[in-house]
């Protein structure tokens, strides 16, 4: 095991997969000479050359479109979108093309494409650069959507995504890049479509993904000191959604809180809650609670931005009310 940052975990996954398979290459805005706008692909141009580390024009449609075509033709492209917000310009490519081709052509075409993008808020980038849009893509059959919270998952899931035969949207969180975690030295994969218990507990199940996993863990820590034992489930993959650990946990705790950075209405938490109702109604001691993003375009001012995103304090308060 070595202690590395989330950023290094993503880069190591890319590098190891590129060394393993010559068909893997990366392309996107500023991935080469600049080294990635979040420094993820730093020094990779020097290591792999410009055939495999390709700077592109600012044209999200063709970045993902060319990625899809290259994947159809036998390559394993990893396209980088600076942020998931700009991914909206490529959403037709992801939704109308990548997600459809295998089905529409009855299995003749495969699209082993990874699209990496940065999502989430917290850096005062305001309304157009701070969104959590995972639900738009997780809604689409034919796509896979993964959102790792730790360096371990970031590396293992990216390697799994690159080896996957379907299009995978891999969303990183900019505030997580500096966090550190233990990662095995050798090759390992984290399976797509498997949720994970990040902390065990017996009184309440807290469900989260990406950065909100850390908020949930912080809340669980505080609750623990106050005599409430919280179990934290990290969804890790939003499609295919693995509800099994959530349901198992809920049957034990009979209480659930979903912590989500995205908007409450029609958000991922709504889907998680309804699946708990469908699969474990008899185990319900109280309504399921959602701690979610405020339903506003993200404001710039530091204090307002902080108010728009769930905090550990919000989760602690919700848990106490729920158990109280």
């Amino acid at each position: 095991m070595t202690l590395i940052t989330y950023r290094d975990a993503v880069r190591d996954a890319l590098r190891e997969e590129m060394h393993r398979d010559p068909r893997v290459f990366i392309m996107g805005e500023e991935v080469g000479v600049w080294g990635g706008s979040y420094a993820v692909t730093q020094n990779m141009l020097r290591e792999f050359g410009d055939k495999r580390v390709r700077d592109t024009p600012i044209a999200e449609g063709i970045i993902v479109g060319a990625g899809i075509g290259a994947a159809m033709g036998g390559l394993r492209p990893v396209c980088e979108l600076m942020t998931v917000n700009f991914g909206l310009l490529a959403s037709d490519m992801l939704i109308n093309h990548a997600a459809k081709l295998h089905y529409m052509f009855a299995g003749q075409v495969k699209v082993p494409l990874v699209v990496r993008a940065v999502g989430g808020s917290g850096r005062q980038l305001a309304a157009t650069h701070s969104q959590s849009l995972e639900v738009l893509f997780a809604y689409i059959p034919g796509l896979k959507v993964v959102m790792p919270a730790t360096p371990y998952d970031a590396k293992g899931l990216l390697k799994a995504a690159i080896r996957d035969d379907d299009p995978v949207l891999y969303i990183e969180h900019s505030l997580l890049y500096p966090i550190k975690g233990e990662v095995p030295t050798g090759d390992y994969l984290v399976p797509i479509g498997a949720s994970d218990i990040k902390r065990e507990g017996k009184d309440v199940t807290i469900i989260a993904w990406s950065r909100m996993v850390h908020v949930a863990l912080q809340a669980a820590e505080i609750l623990g000191r106050e005599g409430i034992s919280a179990e934290v489930v990290d969804l890790r993959t939003l499609r295919p959604l693995d509800m099994e650990p959530v349901i198992r946990s809920f049957m034990k705790t009979n209480h659930a809180i979903v912590v989500e950075e995205d908007w409450r209405t029609f958000g991922i938490g709504a889907e998680v809650a309804v699946q708990i109702y469908e699969q474990a109604f008899g185990y319900l001691d109280a309504p399921i609670v959602r701690c979610a993003g405020a339903e506003v375009p993200m404001p710039y001012a530091k204090n307002l931005e902080a108010l728009a995103v769930p905090t550990a304090g919000d989760v602690v308060r919700a848990a106490k009310e729920l158990i109280g």
């Binding site: 068909r23 290459f25 055939k51 592109t56 024009p57 044209a59 449609g61 063709i62 993902v64 479109g65 060319a66 990625g67 899809i68 075509g69 290259a70 994947a71 159809m72 033709g73 036998g74 390559l75 492209p77 037709d92 490519m93 109308n96 093309h97 081709l101 295998h102 089905y103 529409m104 052509f105 009855a106 299995g107 003749q108 075409v109 495969k110 082993p112 059959p141 034919g142 896979k144 996957d164 035969d165 379907d166 994969l189 399976p191 479509g193 498997a194 994970d196 295919p240 693995d242 099994e244």
Partner: protein, 329 residues
């Protein structure tokens, strides 16, 4: 790069096959056996047949929803194409794609696509795979003039030129995108002129004359295959029927259609074959007769094929069945 006599005759046959196939498809549509949209290629046959004849078997084709003619010209099985139009399990796309989404990857035919312009981006990606893997392939990407005002067209031409990708862009300029005449939609009505913005060599040709199309395509393919980057052909043509079945055609006059019908590419090639003494009237009739026989068999095959099994509904959403929690701790 002259066409020899046999080649001309086989092209004539292909054009007649497309014409009869489309006419039979229109009948199936009227009988209610074809659902959704049905975009016919009648009138534009010389473009697809002439250009596709310039390709090698290893080359790729990516096209739009008006794709029956291109599929037939590439040699896809007409029976399985008609079966696809009828939504049958024997169809080239298993009955899941329909008229707009025909594909047979074994023939390098990567599909018809229903989102205007989207496939131009995919074609550039396929060309990137060919260049990256050092495969000797050219990608032929076919689209209408109406698709050249969408962002994808410009993003695709720019990247293809920047990276010198092996793709021939073939624009079928049939003067209308649905009901909008080209001058009402494009500030620069010549598509070939647009290519200069991306430093791509381009030519505008008479798409009703199959020899002209073939020669232009052969030059373009040779240019692209030699590694010099993309090439654009704008083939001026005309679709005789409406945009799709049921088009009320308020945007053009009957006179206009009649004038273009006088340049019917099949009639013109027929006349050429006669005047050059390659085929006489009987020879042309024989081809028509043979093709009609083929189309009869095609129609019977398609009509008698089964609909997809209900289990097909959930097949092929993902490359492998989802195995939740496989290998999970």
């Amino acid at each position: 790069m002259d066409l020899n006599q046999d080649r001309l005759v086989s092209m004539y046959r292909q054009m007649v096959l497309i014409r009869r196939f489309e006419e039979r498809a229109a009948d199936f549509y009227r009988e209610g056996k074809i659902g959704g949209f049905l975009h016919l290629y009648i009138g534009e046959e010389a473009v697809g047949v002439g250009a596709i004849a310039a390709l090698e078997p290893q080359d790729y084709i990516v096209t739009h929803y008006r794709d029956h003619g291109h599929a037939l010209a590439r040699g896809l099985d007409p029976k399985r194409l008609m079966a696809e139009l009828l939504g049958r399990a024997t169809g080239v796309s298993g009955g899941k794609g329909g008229s707009m989404h025909l594909a047979d990857v074994s023939k390098g035919f990567w599909g018809g696509y229903g989102i205007v312009g989207g496939h131009i981006a995919l074609a550039v990606g396929l060309a990137l795979s060919a260049q990256y893997l050092d495969e000797n392939r050219v990608v032929l990407c076919i689209f209408g003039e109406g698709s050249t005002n969408i962002g994808y067209f410009h993003e695709a031409l720019n990247l293809a030129s920047l990276w010198k990708l092996p793709v021939v862009f073939l624009c079928e300029n049939n003067l209308y995108g649905m009901g909008t005449a080209v001058e009402r939609a494009s500030a620069v009505p010549s598509v070939a002129a647009k290519a200069c913005a991306y430093n791509i060599p381009a030519t505008r040709i008479d798409g009703m004359n199959i020899s002209t199309v073939y020669e232009a395509a052969a030059l373009a393919v040779a240019h692209v295959r030699s590694g010099q980057g993309p090439y654009l052909i704008e083939a001026m043509c005309y679709r005789f029927p409406g945009h799709s079945m049921g088009d009320p055609e308020r945007y053009r006059s009957k006179d206009e259609v009649d004038r273009y019908r006088e340049q019917d590419p099949i009639l013109m090639l027929g006349k050429q074959l006669e005047s050059q003494g390659i085929l006489d009237e009987g020879g042309l009739e024989q081809i028509d007769h043979d093709v009609s026989k083929v189309i009869e068999a095609v129609a019977v095959f398609a009509d008698q094929s089964h609909a997809p099994a209900p289990e097909a509904l959930h097949e092929h959403v993902y490359a492998h069945p989802l195995n939740h929690r496989e290998g999970a701790a």
